[in-house]
Subunit: 164 residues, 2 copies
Amino acid sequence: MESTQVAATAQIINKDQLLTHWLGHRKVTRRALEAFPEKELFEFSIGGMRTYAQLTKEMLAMDGSTARGLATDDWGTFDEEKTELTTKADLLASYDESTEKIQNYWKDISMEKFQEKVVAFGQYDGTGYSILFYIIDNEIHHRGQGYVYLRALGITPPNFWEQY
Amino acid sequence: MESTQVAATAQIINKDQLLTHWLGHRKVTRRALEAFPEKELFEFSIGGMRTYAQLTKEMLAMDGSTARGLATDDWGTFDEEKTELTTKADLLASYDESTEKIQNYWKDISMEKFQEKVVAFGQYDGTGYSILFYIIDNEIHHRGQGYVYLRALGITPPNFWEQY
């Protein structure tokens, strides 16, 4: 009882909260993807950057696979080409599959894993938590860039703070 | 001993790691600010968005004050105008002051605070951790937008992954 209480009060963010945090961001990211016109999603960019479809594919190469990697140590190969995804509907469907994957693998990630050394995708050294935070942050980063693309296209992006 | 061990292994991210994570992002943000040319920092924007100086001022209204708020419950008033900051050197100096403030207040934030209900700046309901994660995420979001501004200006932004 004593030890449980200490563990509970000593937690900065617990596992349920971290999943809610991650999925909350994904709701915003999905809305941003949905806001893009089909053509511009695959063709528009600023300053020589990648298109938002390409940025989304990078997210899709990391998200579900990170949940699986943390749960099973199977990271698979890092594939951000995803040449099979050629329409907005494809990207949205793939994004939803990743969300489901995250929700399914989450329960199999042990609390200890967050503090273990991991080599994500066989090449990125980190700690469980640092890898996960990195891929969430990377998604926020690229989604923020997508907001500029949307604004440049005259489209109002989703509210950043509506993570529910 | 038993209870200490449980608390240690049950942690997703510990307090030192969270500070390192936050300060790591701030190093990247500082480099992004530094990369802007003086004039464009205050004048350039895309699609009717705020300038990067304005986005930086929003960050500066939240960062050090959040550390102080979590440490002391004194959130002060939310001021994102900061009309006194009129040059890049001003913004960089203010950013460095905030970093110092974060480092100084960090030790005074109790572990319990991260799970307490807080009303940030007298108006934003949340939990200690959620408010802190929000302002870090908000900085990543706007910095990502700054990267597009830099690319549009023909300037290579700092590497996102060099958070040290």
